[in-house]
């Protein structure tokens, strides 16, 4: 009986505090809820409003993660870097920082981050390779890729693709179109445009020829002008088309690389705080 009353007595002030909606414990509860509802900005601000003394590693990690998901990388970096080395979250927060540097294409900071780590962080190195591939700086990648990890194998394939892309030559496209109108476009896989160019040049050349034959001088010159316009325009267009084809190759390469990284979640581990 006594024990009960004592516990009740103690519990009253405890409840008082618990029930104040803005007491730290309640703020934390609410912030956890917001985090799990994916209301990340509110969650981060709620955690921060707890005050410095409450910001232990889990909360720092969740704040940083929230900002990272929102895309506020500056704040995210700030909070990730505050997680102490002794923390359970330290390794992963370093990777999260690496991910942000990667997404901002900031290779200097990524290099610095790798340099600061005691053990060489393979996952960060992977991000570095990917970044080099994006920027097409394939010079010194060969030896870094000598690892048998599954991801390195994939990255190696990307590297080889980047080094020997399936480009079409602008020169070949131009020369082909100069020989047979439209063939340069067919070479760059613009089949419809190639055939159209051939037909247009052909028709106007025939019209020019026919009019000269029938002694219609003016029409002859007019159609000659148009025909040569199409002829030269097609040579020009074939070169441009090769450039666009190559831009498409680059674009697809970057898409695939980015898909791969998203699929691997930038080598960052995800924790489920909302079970």
């Amino acid at each position: 009986m006594k024990i009960i009353f004592i516990s009740l007595l103690i519990s009253i002030p405890a409840f008082c505090q618990l029930n104040n909606l803005h007491a730290p414990q309640n703020k934390k509860l609410f912030a956890d809820y917001l985090f799990c509802e994916q209301d990340y900005l509110r969650a981060a601000e709620e955690y921060i409003s707890l005050g410095e003394t409450f910001l232990y590693d889990t909360i720092l990690y969740k704040i940083a993660k929230s900002y990272s998901i929102i895309g506020d990388y500056e704040n995210s970096l700030n909070y990730f870097s505050r997680i102490p080395q002794s923390s359970f979250f330290y390794d992963n927060s370093v990777k999260e920082i690496g991910k942000i540097y990667y997404l901002n294409e900031n290779d200097a900071s990524l290099d610095k981050l790798i340099g600061e780590q005691e053990n060489s962080f393979y996952d960060l190195v992977k991000l570095k390779i990917a970044l080099k591939l994006i920027k097409n700086q394939t010079g010194d990648l060969e030896e870094v890729l000598e690892n048998s990890d599954e991801d390195f194998l994939v990255l190696k394939k990307f590297y080889q693709q980047r080094k020997n892309p399936d480009y079409k030559s602008e020169l070949v496209a131009g020369i082909l179109s100069a020989i047979v109108p439209g063939s340069g476009k067919i070479y760059t896989e613009e089949y419809g445009d190639g055939v159209t160019a051939f037909l247009l040049t052909g028709i106007f050349t025939y019209l020019a020829y026919d009019n000269f034959k029938n002694d219609h001088k003016f029409r002859g010159y007019l159609f000659t002008g148009i025909a040569s316009g199409f002829y030269l325009g097609n040579i020009y267009g074939s070169v441009a088309s090769a450039q666009i084809f190559n831009a498409k190759i680059d674009f697809n390469f970057l898409e695939l690389l980015s898909d791969f990284l998203i699929n691997r979640n930038y080598f960052v581990k995800e924790y489920d705080f909302c079970k």
């Binding site: 994916q38 998901i69 159209t196 316009g229 020009y236 070169v239 441009a240 995800e270």
Partner: protein
């Protein structure tokens, strides 16, 4: 390893599904007045002169005359944005008279080819195929590849 991948996939699909709901509040916002107006998607012609070079003035005058006398009268014939005549004038602005003319002949070829346009061009917001002169100026830095069917603002 397999378990790990599976886990990531689940969290990701979850993120994608729910985040589409929560994104409104990922940035602070203020009171905003509602907009009752309907947007006009029609393309308005620009008859003004923006340059002083002689080839530009000459060709722009020709094109303005063409627009008023012919193009505005003969209906909606160009499936592209910018339209063929705008493409010509923009090409000349972008490069020079001769290169612009070559680009125009090349554009006319694309215009005459009715096959598989949907598979080939991104779409401008007024439902035209987007085909800007910057792609054809032979300047690799200006080429910004946009995949087919994507809507360009």
């Amino acid at each position: 390893m397999i378990k790990n991948k599976f886990f990531i996939q689940i969290t990701f699909s979850f993120l994608i599904v729910v985040s589409s709901v929560a994104q409104t509040d990922w940035q602070r916002w203020e009171k905003t007045e509602p907009n009752y107006l309907t947007e006009d998607l029609n393309y308005q012609r620009d008859y003004s002169y923006t340059d002083n070079s002689l080839p530009y003035l000459f060709s722009k005058t020709l094109i303005n005359a063409y627009w008023i006398l012919i193009s505005d009268v003969d209906g909606d014939n160009c499936p592209f944005h910018p339209s063929c005549s705008s493409f010509l004038i923009q090409s000349i602005e972008e490069t020079n008279l001769i290169q612009g003319a070559l680009m125009f002949f090349d554009r006319f070829t694309r215009d005459s080819n009715p096959v598989a346009r949907e598979e080939h061009y991104p779409v401008y917001k007024n439902y035209r195929f987007y085909d800007p002169p910057t792609l054809y100026a032979l300047d690799k830095n200006k080429i910004k590849f946009i995949p087919p069917k994507r809507v360009v603002e």
